[in-house]
């Protein structure tokens, strides 16, 4: 019965909607897609408009090589850490299990540059730790934090939660019978993991790693501070130091290409995942209760991840911040700016994502454009917006410049984060069957009316989720804000970056900490919500 009604729904949803022209909802979706498409096309236009090669080819190749190498390292490390953590948390019970379930996602509250500041300071060759080690222990770490390897470690600590969350969902939803079949066919528990569970979860692994790599390519603050010259740092530098938007855009084009590739990987992985989600057995997984050394090991592993991703860097930043007297008025203004931009970005982005969710059924390209925006680094998005910005600047009166600048910045956030907001909204809308919308229509509502009185109220919880995700990401955002912000408009991320570039790390600590403090409550709320959800609900 369930099967046949599901099939009927699938058939209904495939039927074409009534209106043959674009409806009001579809125009709104088109507008949302336009916001996402504007900076993407801006990148290409700017890159082509400049002098033949504003950036020497060998520089571009060097940056690209560094970016690629960093992406591979981070991909490998996050895959290992995230998968191990997810497997332990899903399949085993140990002290602290229910805490780590959600707490392992908390490093998402910390911007990668905050981790970079803390670890660079902690492992500085002239820092207290290394001095003490050389003095008391008589040896030094064979390790330079300001290197590709160091940056990869720092970014992996920041981004492993993307893999952890994807793999946790996959392991929770995995087929019990597949695991049992493997055991019956002679696999040990270890072999069962490597030969059945892991291959089954490959789509989720690809999707999670793709997200971590997207973030790696998008990172500016950490790489810049650790003196690793990637394409993204190159984009910001060629704009801010050399004043060359064309050069910046030429560096952004390969990033756009990489984004498209990662997006393709993530999307095709997702298709695979939804495919076997249909075959889930509703039987509980065989959970193993750990004792003794193994239990302690599991707790320590999870604790170490959380410490490296959040507690240690936040603690170190706190310690170094306490040693300096802060510029309180400047901090307060920046915190207010960050909160306002976070709120404005969340409202606008969620609104546009809602428009996409409601109206894009016949405009699949609109959703793809929004996804490409998500995969594209913020620095590239900002450079892409410079061309349309120049057109706008020409027509607005000087007095309005400040507000127009803020609007552009919100546009950049929306273009970058619309797809991130779209995902939970789409999941919420999945509760609305096509016939519920049709029922609204036959009960006298227009298409727009059915959208707002049926679809939106049913999916309203997901709007909050979407808004919070955008809010957290805007708080942590650095490069786009750096490029597009109006003169003298500082967010917490911007002043942290300014202090850090002046090597005033103690001062940079406090704004970074404030970002973590502001982002932590919504992150806790979101990760607890994800941890409580069962697969398929």
């Amino acid at each position: 019965m369930a099967l046949s009604s599901g099939a009927a729904t699938a058939i209904l949803s495939r039927r074409r909607p009534v209106a043959r022209n674009l409806s009001g909802l579809q125009w709104l979706a088109l507008l949302a897609a336009l916001v996402a498409a504007l900076p993407l096309s801006g990148i290409v236009v700017t890159a082509l408009s400049g002098p033949g090669a504003a950036i020497p080819l060998h520089d571009l190749l060097r940056y690209a090589w560094t970016s690629a190498w960093l992406a591979v390292l981070v991909g490998f490390i996050t895959a290992t850490l995230g998968t191990t953590a997810a497997w332990i948390v899903v399949m085993q019970r140990f002290p602290g299990h229910s805490f780590f379930c959600w707490a392992l996602a908390l490093p998402l509250a910390a911007p990668a540059f905050a981790l970079a500041y803390a670890y660079a300071d902690l492992f500085d060759p002239a820092g207290d730790l290394r001095l003490w080690m050389r003095g008391s222990l008589g040896f030094d770490l064979p390790f330079e934090i300001r290197s590709i390897g160091g940056a990869a470690l720092v970014l992996s600590c920041a981004f492993y939660p993307y893999v952890y969350l994807a793999m946790r969902a996959a392991f929770l939803g995995q087929s019990v019978s597949a695991l049992e079949s493997a055991r019956m066919l002679g696999c040990s528990p270890r072999q069962t993991f490597f030969r059945a569970a892991l291959p089954l979860a490959r789509p989720a692994l690809a999707a999670g790693v793709a997200l971590a790599v997207m973030e790696t390519l998008a990172d500016y603050g950490a790489a810049q501070f650790l003196a690793v010259q990637t394409l993204t740092t190159g984009v910001v530098r060629s704009w801010s130091v050399f004043g060359s938007p064309a050069g910046a855009a030429q560096l952004a084009v390969p990033l756009l290409g990489a984004a498209a590739l990662l997006l393709w990987v993530e999307r095709s992985a997702r298709r695979g995942r939804s495919h076997d989600a249909a075959q889930i057995q509703p039987r509980p997984l065989a959970i193993e209760q750990l004792h003794g050394a193994r239990a302690a090991g599991a707790t320590m592993f999870c604790g170490l991840l959380l410490t490296l991703g959040l507690l240690l860097p936040a603690g170190w930043l706190l310690a170094s911040a306490l040693a300096h007297s802060p510029d309180l008025p400047r901090l307060a203004q920046a915190a207010l700016n960050s909160l306002s931009m976070g709120a404005a970005g969340a409202l606008v982005t969620t609104g546009l994502a809602l428009a996409l969710a409601l109206g894009a059924a016949r405009l699949p390209l609109a959703v793809r454009i929004a996804s490409l925006g998500y995969a594209t680094p913020g620095a590239a998005i900002a450079i892409g917006l410079l061309v349309p910005a120049a057109l706008v600047w020409r027509i607005v009166p000087a007095g309005a410049a400040f507000w127009v600048g803020l609007c552009l910045l919100v546009c950049a956030y929306a273009a970058r984060l619309m797809a991130a907001a779209l995902e939970p909204i789409d999941a919420g809308m999945a509760r609305v069957t096509p016939s519920m919308i049709w029922a609204g229509r036959t009960l006298g509502r227009s298409e727009m009316g059915a959208a707002f009185f049926v679809q939106v109220p049913i999916a309203r919880a997901s709007l909050l989720t979407a808004g919070l995700i955008v809010f957290i990401d805007v708080l942590k955002e650095l490069p786009a804000t750096l490029i597009l912000r109006p003169f003298n408009f500082d967010t917490l991320a911007v002043i942290a970056n300014n202090y850090a570039l002046d090597e005033r790390l103690g001062q940079a600590g406090l704004p970074s900490l404030l970002i973590i403090l502001l982002a932590l409550p919504p992150t806790i709320w979101l990760s607890r919500k994800i941890a409580a959800a069962r697969p398929g609900t």
Binding site: A8, A439, R441, T442, G449
Partner: protein
Amino acid sequence: MTLPRSPVIAASAVSKRYAGAPAVQEASLALRAGRITCLLGPSGCGKTTLLRIIAGLERADEGEIRAENRIIEARNVFVPPEARRIGFVFQDLALFPHLSVLNNVAFGLRALGREERRSRAMTLLERFHLADRADAWPHSLSGGEQQRVAIARALAPGPAALLLDEPFSGLDGDLRAQVRDFVLSGLRESAAAVLVVTHDPEEAMLLGDELVLMARGRIVQSGTPEECYFRPRSAAAARLLGRANLVPAMVTGGVASCAFGMFPAGGFGNGPAVAMLRPDALQLEPCGIAAEVIDVRFGGSHYEVRLRAQGQEAVMHLGKEPPTPGEEVRIGIEPSRAALLPQEVAAD
């Protein structure tokens, strides 16, 4: 004898194709106020598509639909579903999970004031014996209750016509019959013209004042349940309403004769034809035709007896005292349950 009122909904020659494959072909039907029409056909015959076209959830490629003498669908006319005054009950019911039972029913009443909405919705809930569940959430109701809420909700705005798509398919056995009787009386109280889509022949005949039979996108017959059951116009129509033995027959001088007996041929001219014998048209008759019993099965309310006579096979229903396989019985035909079909439509 009441005056023939003009139909509330009149569809004429409606056609629809999906990706080139015809779903509905030149379908015409009329729905009258206060009458229940059942649209019966096998899965995938296009009946749901026809229903959705009438409701405005789907556009027709050809044809015209009038509602209360106003054109609502034609080549250049399309009245959107919200302006058609047609209620729809979906197969999956589509109750709004975010609204209470009362607010589900009141959803379509936004033209009214707050108090009036509430009282109108309560009136409907009372009619469907749901008043005590007014503040419940849809997911906490039983299947039968959900069913009734869906119908009350569709009736609330006072539609001129109500369309129900397989309304009882989610319910089983006894409950299904109960809900059906219950809904029938609720529907009778509203003056709406009602169209019920179903693939269950028994349900269609019990529920419908009129039947419309559909097969492969075409309407093959319409009329009262008795007409359709006893006087099918084709083999396809005959089979839709239940088991039918189709046996070659010869008409001579107003009498049809076949392997299992003879019966009056009505207006049929002399020549070959096909006899349509329902299983209960065959009866034991001491001086009837001899037939061999091939198989006997027990079916609850009757025994199903498979017979062979003159190389033809047929199924007979017997109430009691079944013969044993291999036995020879003598049988005849009850004329009121037999019909003749022209040879060319018997092949459908």
